[in-house]
Structures are given as structure tokens and as C-alpha cells.
Symmetry: none
DNA sequence: CATGAATGAGAGTTCATTCAT
DNA sequence: AATGAATGAACTCTCATTCAT
């Protein structure tokens, strides 16, 4: 009896190892050549298995791609959560800094892969990446932001999805800029100013201004801010009329 | 003799019309199927011409793609410049609003195409889009930002490329969010809050706060200036309504 | 009346000039690229006319090729006949030398074209060169050989077609050997030994040995005749030098 | 384990059989239609395999052609060597007869293929047949001729490459003549006279004449030969002056 | 007549997928 | 289960020929 059960355990391990090898190989080839440019033969060779074997794990090239994407984004999500869990800072801006730092670096390192993900969105109908991957990943930011609002660190009227787009959008573009600037030298230098700026941006734009330490003594600065907000409203009004 | 020298103006017109038809058809097919997924036959059919005819206008599929991209980005740049030229507001934030509005709408309308552009960057070596297209396009923002700094409307220590990445990155992500929210209904609604937020963000984060001299002590003179500007805006608005 | 007749004369001249231009261009392109490798467009460009114009002179690419071949072989035949007509020597071997010299040089200069001719024989069913071209050309040799037999210079039992094959076959192969030996330097050097050997071969193998009557006993009369002929040659030579 | 290492001998045999089928089919199609005229699809159909299968044996049409040529010429060389090895005659002329007989028959049977080989030489740059094939083949003659000279059967001053060109050139042309004469009836008849003539030619032209069995008694025949040679010299001189 | 833009059948080649071993 | 040889549909691109101007 046992003689049968034990090998099955070995079998399972072997299969999982092989599956990992396939995913690893597929990821490399897909990133380097894109979906259409990737050859199943090359993936098989790199995984050290026969061409046909892939098809006993994944029904088609498209499904293999999907699995690769799944694995990638799930990994990112876990990493991001780990980063947040490990962060010692408890205030919003400290934790935001950590997340920004992690994300910027991730985007730079995995630029090819992220581009590939978005490329598929439109190109290939059969490999339309489920948006859940992304949704799970950005949920890390969402939780952080909502907690910041709950704790009164952020303006209560800030809109979550706008803040999220600003956060991820800015960092992704910044990653491209950094890449262009220094192609070969993928160091962590030059990421710092971007992260700093992002935190400063959130502080300035979304931070809850204590608004008058002294209830009665309205400072001139507070007045100035009020005037700014009024100006903004007038601008908006004007643009709607044009 | 004359019959030879003169392409009879009708000839030239016909050729140009045909070339436009090809580009138009190519753009549609490329957007819907991606570069590799697009079939030259389908492009030809859609353009209403024979398959071989395309090759007397463009040497290869890759060159056709390149031409489509060229045309698209050049068009965007011109449009953006027109928008800026037509804008009545003279202050930085008013003009930024106009640009943000234009860009957001453009990205939403042309989302497929923009995704396609970035997809090519990595995938296909032969159709690596020259970065000049993008560079020209974002130059519109660059000029606006630098002018804002010159006029003292923006902090002198703000870094251009960081601001640029925040502007375009945020708007592009926002466009995606908007798209997801309401797939079919591509109205101009819901773009307004994003634009408003972007302008507010720039005002809060990059705006030059007159009270620079004293961090807390805003001078009365500065306040006076702010009020003057606001008054001017309201006047302008009033004159438009009359 | 005349006004009509005269232009037609000019017209005819113009047409003939154009036809020659086409043939000339076609020959060059066909030789350099072979039948299948030749492009009608390139022929037209080289002839300085439009693509379609060729088709008002020749119905198809194959017919154009045929015309080119016709012209080439007819030209060769005429040249060979001219060479024979101009030759001062009256004896068979002197004239054979002249023909061998001419043919060897011709084959070397037109090697590409001759190869092309034979290539078509098998390859392309529609451009099967009529064998009459070749037949006319080799008829020059045939007449020379038969006359040599009539005059008793050649063995009466020699078979014409065998001699012909030896003559043309050997020279053609020799031409290839010479070509291989010195690719770039297509001088007339090194052709001489081949020609000499060919004449010597014919003399040894096909020459009528007067002593035919008695295998071993050469008659004095025969020797006398040989000396007479030799004397004549020397006289001719002497008169040329004076 | 074993099931992997051993291609089971049946596998290997099957692959080799398939490869032979491809070469055989390719040869037929190439010969009948020429290189450009041959269709890969037809070759595949004739070999009884799928179109794509050919490409796992040969990278391109050109390489397939090359392999066909290689196989053909290598086969001819081996056959020719076998014929020489099997020949009982030990003297030069006996062995030459055997080689001439074999070559003439070969050329007649494989006329199409030989024409094709030469056709490629000029036309197609990518399928330029390496001259080594030919060189190896004609080496059989070379060895025979040199041995004939060593044994004193042939004139010591005879030039190898000239003799070689005469041998192969004459036989090839003769083959064409024979073909033309009787298209359908490819019997071995009519080859005999050509072979006989070729041997006689070599005997007369290249054979070493014992030149005077008796040292003192110069025969009239010997004198006659001397006069012939003198005549030849004068002819040469005369032709050089013109 | 001359032109050359337009045509479209057909070429060689690729590669995801299958299936006998 | 694993293999990799075999498949053939589908691709891009060519070019002889046509025909409106």
C-alpha cells in the first residue's frame, strides 16, 4: 500500500518542479520576444523538456501565457504586502514612501513584463489578462489610502481612484524616464528623488491640513489657502462655460 | 510632352487619397489586432485596393506600421499645440487645465492606439518606434511648464521631468480607470473631476506660494495680489456671460 | 500625301531603335540574372521605356527571351561567316585555326549567355530555344569540314557530326577551364595553346595521311606534295613580311 | 531509460528512408522544372510527406538543391571509380575506352541533370554549386592520364587540362547529338562509334609514337611526320603575325 | 502608342499543435 | 507521461501582366 502512496508524493514533486521550469522558461521567452514572437520550441528547450510535454500542462500557448501572467502578478502582490508588513513606520506618508519605493523599483526591474501585460490587453483577444490580477495588486495601495483617511492623515474628500491613478501612473512613467536616462546602469540611484517627490505630492495635495492650530486666530496662510480654493472653483466654472 | 510632365493634379490627388485610405485602414486593423495579428490582406480589403498595391506605397508591413504611428503622433502634437494656441487663459494653471482636458480625452479616445505604441516598444525589434514622436508630443507640456516657472507661477526648484511624468502618467492611468468604469458610454462626463484634481495637484505641489519669504507669515501684500488675480478671473468670466 | 508617308519612315526608325534598346537591355539583364531572376521592370528601366511598352513589342517575357536568343545566335553565325570569309588561308587547317580562334574567344566572352541558352533548354518548357539557331551556327564548321574532305585534306571516312562535337565540345570546355584559371584577366593569352592543340588534333586524327595506300611505305610523291604545300605557306608568310 | 537512448534502429531507418524519398523527389522535380520552376509543394507531394517536413531536413529550397547535387556528383564519382577498378585492361587506351563508355552513357542518361548543374552555375548566386563536385569527378580521368604518361604510353609534352577538356567536352556534345538523333530510343547503340573515335583520337593525338624502330633506317613515314610538325609550326607563326 | 499604378495568384517559409511511439 | 517528427494552414511579399489615362 505504502509503496504506492509514497511514489505518488515523489511524482507530485516532480510534476511541480517541471511546471515551475516551464513557467520560468516561458516567462523569459515571452518577455524577450513578446507573445507572438515567442516560440514554443524555444520555451521547451529552455525548460529542458519536449515540445509536446508543455501541452499536458497547458492547453495552448495562450493559456501558458495566462499562467505566466497570473504567477507574476500574484508574486508582485505578495511582495508588496510583505513590504508593507515589514515597514516599521506607522504613519501614512512613511508607509507610502515604502510602497512607492518598492513599486518604482519593481516597475523598473520588470518593465519588459509589465509592458507585455498591457500589450496583450488589446492585441490578443484570447489572452486578455483578467483585470483581477491588477486589482489585487493595487488593493495594497487602496487599503493604505483608506486607512490614512480613517486616521485623519488624508483629506476626507480625496477620491481613492484618482489618488491611485496618480500614484501608479506617475511612478510607471517615472520608471520609463529613469530607464531612458540610464540604460545600462540599473542602480537604485535616482529613484530616491522620485519617491521623495511622490510623498511630497501626496502630502501637499492629499494631506489633511490641520487648518488653523488656533481655532480663533486664523492665520494669513490659512486665508491664502482659502483664496486658492476659491480660485480653483472659479477656474472650474470658467472652463465649463467655454 | 505636357501630358507627361503634369501628373494632372488629379493623379496626385488620387494617389494621396489612396495613401490616406491605406493608412486609415492599416490603423484600424493594427489597433484591433496588434502588429502580428494584423493581416495585410485585411488591410488591403478595407482600403479597397489589391494586396500588392500596399507594397508600392510601403516596403513592408513594418514600414506601414511605422508610417501609421508617425502620422498618429504627429497629428496629436499638432492638435495639442492648436489647443494651447486657442486657449484664452494666460496663466499656467488655466493653460494646464486645457492641456489636461485635451490629453485625457485624447488618451481615452485613442487608448487602443496608445497601448499599441507601447506594446511595440519591447516586442518587435524592427518596429521600434522612434522616441522622437513622444518627445515632440510631450514638448508641449515642457514649454508650458518652463514658462510657468519663468513667470514665477511655479516653484523654481521643481524638476521638469518629474512633473511631466506625473502629468502624463496620472492622466493615462486615469483614462484606463474611466474606460473600465463605463465601457460603452464614452462621454466627456467624468473627465472633469480628473482634470480638476490634476490642476489642483499642480497648484498644491508645484505652485509657487508667494509667502515664500516667511513660512508662516503670509504678507498682506501677497494676499492682496492673490485677490487681485481672482478678481481679474471673475471679471473675465462676467464679461463672457454678458 | 507625302506628309503622311515621310513620318512613317521616321516612325519606323524610332520603333526599330526602341526595339533594339529593349533587346539590348533584355540581354544584359537576362545574362546577369537568368530567366527567372530577370525582372521586366529592370529591363524596361534599362531600355529607358515604360514597363507596359515592352508588351507592345513582345507578348511575354518568354517571347522576349526568345527574341534575344535569336538575335544573339544569328549575330554569332554572321560573325563566324565573316571570319571565314576574311581568312586568307585556303587550306582546311589554316581555316580551322581561324574558326577555332574565333569560337574560343566568343565562348569565353559570351560564356554567361551560352550557359543561359543551354539552361533554358531543360528548365523552361515555354522558352525552349529552337535548335535551328545552333544548327545554323555550327553549319559554318560543317561546310568547312566537308570542303576539307572534298579537297582530300581530311580522311574521307571521318564522320562529320563526331568531328563537330569534338570541335565545339572541346572548345567550350576549354573556355570554362580558361575562365576558371584567370577570372579577372580575360585577355587573349592562353587561348593560343588551346587553338594550336585543336588544329594539331584534327591534323593527327582527321588529316588524310597520303600514305594511305601503303601503311608503312610512304611514297616520295606524297612527301613531295607535303613539301610543296609547306613551301607555299612559307612563301605566303614571306610576302606578308615584305 | 533505454527507450530514450536507442532510436530503436527503426527510427533511424525510417528517417533515412524519408530523407532518401525527399532527395529522390526533389531530384525529379528539379530536373523537370529547373530550380526556380520547381515547387516545394510538388516535391513534398511526390515524396509523400507534408510540406513543412522538408524544412526539418533542409533549411531552404537552395540547400535541398545543393544536397541533391552533392548526392548526384558523389554518386557519379564513385561509379566512375568502380568502373575503372573493375576494368581488366591495364593499358591506357583500354582503360580510356572503359571510362569513355561509362561517361558517355552517364551523360546521356543524366543529361537533364547535368544541364541543370551548369545552369545554376551562372544564374543563381545562392545555389552556386561548389566546383569540388566536378573536380572530384574529373580526377578519375586525371589519374588515368598521368599514369599513361608515366608509363610512356602518352606523349610527355601533352597538357593534362587540354586533354581533359577534349575528353569531357567532346563526349558531352556527342551525348547531345545522340540524344537529338533518337529522342525516345535511349539504347546503347550509336555510342560505340563515338567511344571508338575518342580512343582513336587520343591514340593519334596524344599517343607516344615509337618514332623509328630502327635507329638508322629513318622511314619515309617518320619524315612525313616531321614535315607535318614543321608545317604546324609555320602555321602557328603565320597566325601570330596576322 | 506609351505609360506605370494596380493587380492577385502563387511562391517559400514558419510554427502551434497533434499523435504514434 | 513524455517525446519530437510531422503536419498544413496561413503568413508576407513578389512580379508578370493588364488597362485606364
Amino acid at each position: 500500500m505504502a509503496s504506492k502512496a509514497i511514489p505518488s508524493e515523489t511524482q507530485r514533486a516532480k510534476l511541480e518542479r517541471k511546471e515551475r521550469a516551464i513557467l520560468e522558461a516561458a516567462r523569459t521567452i515571452f518577455v524577450n520576444h513578446g507573445f507572438d514572437g515567442a516560440r514554443m520550441q524555444e520555451i521547451a528547450r529552455r525548460a529542458g523538456i519536449g515540445e509536446g510535454t508543455i501541452y499536458s500542462y497547458y492547453d495552448s500557448k495562450a493559456e501558458l501565457m495566462l499562467a505566466v501572467l497570473q504567477q507574476f502578478w500574484d508574486g508582485l502582490t505578495l511582495e508588496a504586502e510583505d513590504v508593507m508588513a515589514a515597514e516599521q513606520a506607522t504613519d501614512f506618508f512613511g508607509r507610502l514612501r515604502a510602497l512607492a519605493h518598492y513599486h518604482l523599483n519593481t516597475v523598473i526591474v520588470n518593465a519588459d513584463f509589465i509592458n507585455l501585460t498591457f500589450a496583450l490587453r488589446r492585441n490578443n483577444s484570447e489572452v486578455s489578462v483578467s483585470r483581477d490580477h491588477l486589482r489585487h495588486y493595487v488593493a495594497v495601495f487602496d487599503r493604505l489610502f483608506l486607512r490614512g483617511q480613517d486616521r485623519g492623515e488624508l483629506r476626507a474628500d480625496a477620491v481613492l481612484w484618482q489618488a491611485r491613478d496618480i500614484f501608479y501612473g506617475s511612478l510607471e512613467y517615472s520608471a520609463r524616464s529613469i530607464e531612458m536616462t540610464m540604460e545600462a546602469d540599473r542602480s537604485t540611484r535616482d529613484q530616491q528623488p522620485v519617491v521623495d517627490d511622490m510623498v511630497a505630492l501626496f502630502r501637499a495635495h492629499y494631506g489633511a491640513h490641520p487648518e488653523g492650530e488656533a481655532a480663533d486666530g486664523t492665520t494669513l496662510a490659512a486665508l491664502s489657502r482659502q483664496i486658492e480654493q476659491l480660485t480653483e472653483k472659479v477656474d472650474t466654472l470658467a472652463s465649463r462655460l467655454s
